[in-house]
């Protein structure tokens, strides 16, 4: 939970689209892409205020 009067940041990852004709393997690949993206942006958000982003 954020503290009042602190600074907050929302971060978006790149959009992920899933082809209608995707195979099971491709779906699993997309699932991993989403998971990686969420882990990445969350790590980036958590260090956003300690590491000054350029």
């Amino acid at each position: 939970m954020p503290y009042p009067f602190s600074k907050g940041v929302f971060i978006c990852g790149d959009p992920i689209t899933v082809n209608r004709e995707s195979t099971e393997e491709e779906l699993e690949q997309k699932r991993l892409t989403l998971q990686e993206s969420l882990l990445n942006i969350t790590e980036r958000a958590d260090s956003y205020f300690s590491v000054r982003e350029s």
């Binding site: 939970m1 503290y3 907050g8 978006c12 959009p15």
Partner: protein, 190 residues
């Protein structure tokens, strides 16, 4: 039975009061915090042009999400359990609808409801790790939703410069303990 009635009344109070208090807290935090938005250009553009999206964020980053939403309407997938009810009632105070379902007990659970919302022209929000976890592990349901609808998934997150790590489950278990304490205080011990 006295205790049974007390339990029902307390439950009713919790389910009404907790979402109200949570929404006050979220609004208070939003008012006092300085919030930045990174890489939002595409999302804002989609909203302006009325193009639907699927929002994806970890369950643990759910709290502040209601204040980020600036689209034309969104429905969020929440569990059928009591914590889902509390979340549904909290986001309702921000004009956000919800669909009850379960990502852990098969992705089909909430899909029908979500498709209905999408057909009404709404965005969809899903926590791909679900309320029960395993945390930070995306379930397949959201990928199937994206496949069926053709909508892009936008991964999203939130963090703050100062925060206390508190899982949603922790707050809820506090509530349960509070209720139990009230109950035992209200029940005459023989």
């Amino acid at each position: 039975m006295v205790s049974f009635d007390m339990k029902k009344i307390l439950n009713k109070i919790t389910i009404t009061a907790a979402p109200f208090l949570a929404s006050l807290l979220i609004r208070f935090l939003a008012k006092t915090m300085r919030i930045s938005y990174v890489n939002f250009e595409r999302v804002w553009d989609d909203w302006r042009r009325g193009k639907n999206i699927i929002l994806a964020f970890w369950h643990g980053r759910l709290l502040m999400m209601p204040i980020m939403y600036k689209g034309r309407g969104v429905s969020v997938l929440v569990s059928r359990h009591r914590d889902g009810e509390l979340i549904a009632r909290t986001v309702m105070r921000f004009g956000i609808d919800s669909v009850r379902g379960s990502s852990t007990r098969g992705w089909l659970g909430g899909v029908k409801g979500l498709l209905k919302e999408w057909k009404k022209g709404k965005d969809i929000a899903i926590t791909p790790d679900g309320p029960k976890g395993p945390g930070f592990n995306a379930q397949m349901g959201i990928i199937h939703m994206a496949k069926i609808t053709g909508l892009p998934i936008i991964p999203m997150t939130f963090s703050a410069s100062k925060k206390k790590h508190l899982r949603v489950g922790t707050a809820l278990s506090c509530l349960t303990h509070f209720q139990k304490a009230c109950l035992s205080a209200a029940t005459p011990s023989l």
